[in-house]
Subunit: 251 residues, 2 copies
Amino acid sequence: MSYILISNDDGIDAPGLKAMVDCLPHDRRIVVVAPDGPRSAQSSAITVINRLHIRRHDDYHGAEIYSVDGTPVDCVKLAVNIFGRPDFVFGGINHGPNDGNSVIYSGTMGIVIEGCLLGIPSVGFSHISHSWETDFLPYYATVKRIADDVILNGLPDGVCLNVNMPEGGEVKGALTLRAAKGYWVEEFDEYDTGDGGKEYKLTGRFLNLEPDNDATDKYWLARGYASIVPVRTDVTAEDAIPLLSQRFDSK
Amino acid sequence: MSYILISNDDGIDAPGLKAMVDCLPHDRRIVVVAPDGPRSAQSSAITVINRLHIRRHDDYHGAEIYSVDGTPVDCVKLAVNIFGRPDFVFGGINHGPNDGNSVIYSGTMGIVIEGCLLGIPSVGFSHISHSWETDFLPYYATVKRIADDVILNGLPDGVCLNVNMPEGGEVKGALTLRAAKGYWVEEFDEYDTGDGGKEYKLTGRFLNLEPDNDATDKYWLARGYASIVPVRTDVTAEDAIPLLSQRFDSK
């Protein structure tokens, strides 16, 4: 039976998950299969040793709600296994930014990449603030417009979307962009364990290598626009093959 | 101080990790920072809530050995934080294949992508068999040749390597290829919990959509060759931007 799958990486209790449900057309079957707790920054991790369990919760605004004791991508794989192949996969709305190279670490984008690998049009939505107090209502029009377009027109083969919403409760517009290049620095806070040992808590900040480049997501997000970054799931660097063949090939 | 970083996703006790050490030039400082247990299929997952701990073990063949209670990418980030930026990052040798789209899920490739994001020449090595009984000696010449070349000549910006070794203890040659296109099917075994519930164990097989295509890694691995796939860390689908801009942009 035809349906739209929603998942997230903030877990079943995140307000952004309900906002995602509210932004999708309710003349379709909507199934939410989300982790039973926070699973941020899980990327495309999957559970290969333990067994998974799924539990049904009360419906929300007509959507069926299930939780799984696994990663975001586990949720997609298990949903496909139990409910069949969805027509569309939506991740989010994530509490926290997935711009720049966060697409690599994001569980929200793990969900979306998994859908795309199966040939399903898939979109991840994130909001630039980590706060669970965020009022998502000002973002509904933008999310709905993009979701409706994807449901009507699909997406190019092998391409999914990473959409980020700006802070501040107003969206001045939306632009299709590429991810800003950069990397994370100053990544750990150090603590004494009290017995002479140390422990390390991940923190850090993204060093944007092109802060003034108006082709990038970070540039426009900082200026109040939603960013739409098309993401490829085939990561082979085809253009590097000829040169590397000369160096490495032996037959 | 200049050094080569090694990590893996099979954990500190995996024989493939020692094989990796043995394949690198011992006139350089080698530091191993690996998970304290198996962390297969962890992709680029990072630990954002718990604090991490690092523990030193006995040296192995001149290499410093440390374990971390985190993911493979945690190991890279923590190594950079404690020991400084390595000159090269090597992942593996992994027990199990990372060909086809397994690059998306692989913790070994998570390590390598993390190195590449920092601008460090990085290579992941995997062996097509999951067995911990694998004799890696027949693969040393191939691994050494590729590692030595990367240490001497580096890699193109934003490109890392995903190298897989064939089964059978003989390597007929090595070829630079692209990842075979496909996806995973029949992904779960179902079990009764005994109290009316069910649990699900991830399994499944990769459906290769182009089994006869001799430009792909799977084709040559099955024929006794090592495959070298260049992997990009910038996943923006730039060529899709113009078309999607027309559909989505509002300003």
